[in-house]
C-alpha cells in the first residue's frame, strides 16, 4: 500500500511539473506573440465581431446590416459614409487586416486595412477606421486608395 502511495505521489508530482510547464509556456506565449513580428494574431487583439461585421457589410454593400450596426444617423450622413469607400469598392477585395483598437471613456477606436486588387492584379491598401460607442459604430473614416491612384 505504501509502495502504491509512493508511486502515485511520484506520478502526481511529475504530472504537476508537466502542467506547470504547460501553463508557463501558454501564458508567456500569449504575452509575447502580439509584440513579435509575423502573421496577425487576431486572438490577441480582441477583435469585436460587430466591428468586423460592419466592415464586411460595407465591403459587401449590405446596407441593412451596416445600418443596424450604426448609431442612428440621417440618410445623408449614412450616404456620406458609404461614398468614402465607393472608389475602393469598385475593385476586388482580397485581404482584410485588423490592426487593433482601444477604448477611452465611452468611445472605441478600431483600425482595419483592406487590400483591393485592380484588374491588372495590383494590390492597393485602403485604411478603415471605426469609432464606436456602446457596441455600435458612430463614425467610419478611410476609403482612400492614396494619391496618384490610376486604376492600374
Amino acid at each position: 500500500m505504501a509502495r502504491i502511495r509512493r508511486v502515485v505521489g511520484v506520478v502526481v508530482s511529475l504530472a504537476a511539473t508537466l502542467v506547470a510547464g504547460g501553463v508557463l509556456g501558454y501564458v508567456v506565449t500569449s504575452f509575447l506573440s502580439p509584440v513579435l513580428p509575423g502573421p496577425v494574431q487576431p486572438g490577441n487583439r480582441h477583435e469585436f465581431q460587430y466591428t468586423r461585421d460592419y466592415v464586411v457589410a460595407i465591403i459587401e454593400r449590405d446596407a441593412a446590416t451596416a445600418n443596424a450596426l450604426l448609431v442612428p444617423q440621417n440618410p445623408a450622413t449614412r450616404a456620406l459614409l458609404y461614398q468614402r469607400f465607393e472608389q475602393a469598392l469598385t475593385l476586388q477585395p482580397r485581404t482584410l487586416t485588423y490592426l487593433g483598437g482601444a477604448t477611452a471613456g465611452q468611445l472605441g477606436a478600431y483600425s482595419y486595412v483592406l487590400g483591393v486588387e485592380t484588374p491588372t492584379g495590383t494590390l492597393h491598401l485602403v485604411p478603415f477606421q471605426l469609432t464606436t460607442v456602446e457596441s455600435r459604430v458612430l463614425d467610419v473614416r478611410g476609403g482612400s486608395l492614396g494619391p496618384g491612384f490610376d486604376d492600374g
Partner: protein, 154 residues
C-alpha cells in the same frame, strides 16, 4: 564562471537516483512549456477569416513614426515647416470624430500596426487625449507612406 566548480561539486555529491530525478523533472518542465506553446498556437489559429485573409504585418515606417512623434509632442512649428498644407489638413481632419468632436489635446499616440504592399505602407495609430467637450477620447488614424515619404493621412 566562479560558480562552475561549485556546481560540479554539488553534482558529485548527488546520488545517481537524485540526478536522474532532477533531469526528468527539468525535462518534463521543458516538455510542458513546449506543449503550452503548441496549445496556444492551436487555440489562436482557429480564427475564421472567411474569404478575406489578413496580410502579414510590416515594420513601422520611420516617416510615419516621425510625424506621430511631432504630433504627440505638440511640435506645430516643425509640422508646419516639414509638411504641406494638404497633408496637415488631412491630419487635422483625421483627429475629428464625425462632423465636430475633435481631439483638442493629445496625451499619447500608440502604433497599432503596419501593413505594406510594394513600397507603400499603411501605418495605423491610436491618438488618446481630450475631446472638445472635455471628455476623454480616442481616435484611430492611418498614415500612408510611399518609399520614405508620408503621402496621405486618413
Amino acid at each position: 564562471m566562479a560558480d562552475a566548480p561549485h556546481a560540479l561539486r554539488v553534482l558529485r555529491v548527488l546520488r545517481p537516483g537524485e540526478l536522474a530525478r532532477g533531469v526528468v523533472t527539468v525535462g518534463l518542465f521543458v516538455a510542458g512549456i513546449v506543449v503550452g506553446i503548441l496549445a496556444y498556437e492551436r487555440v489562436t489559429s482557429g480564427f475564421d477569416y472567411g474569404p478575406l485573409p489578413p496580410k502579414a504585418e510590416a515594420a513601422e515606417p520611420p516617416a510615419a513614426d516621425r510625424l506621430t512623434d511631432l504630433l504627440r509632442d505638440g511640435q506645430d512649428a516643425i509640422l508646419a515647416e516639414e509638411y504641406d498644407g494638404e497633408l496637415l489638413e488631412a491630419l487635422s481632419g483625421a483627429l475629428v470624430i464625425g462632423q465636430s468632436q475633435g481631439l483638442v489635446t493629445i496625451t499619447d499616440i500608440r502604433h497599432l500596426g503596419t501593413v505594406a504592399e510594394g513600397d507603400e505602407s499603411i501605418a495605423s495609430y491610436l491618438a488618446f487625449g481630450q475631446l472638445s467637450n472635455g471628455s476623454d477620447g480616442v481616435i484611430a488614424f492611418a498614415i500612408r507612406v510611399r518609399g520614405d515619404e508620408v503621402v496621405g493621412v486618413n
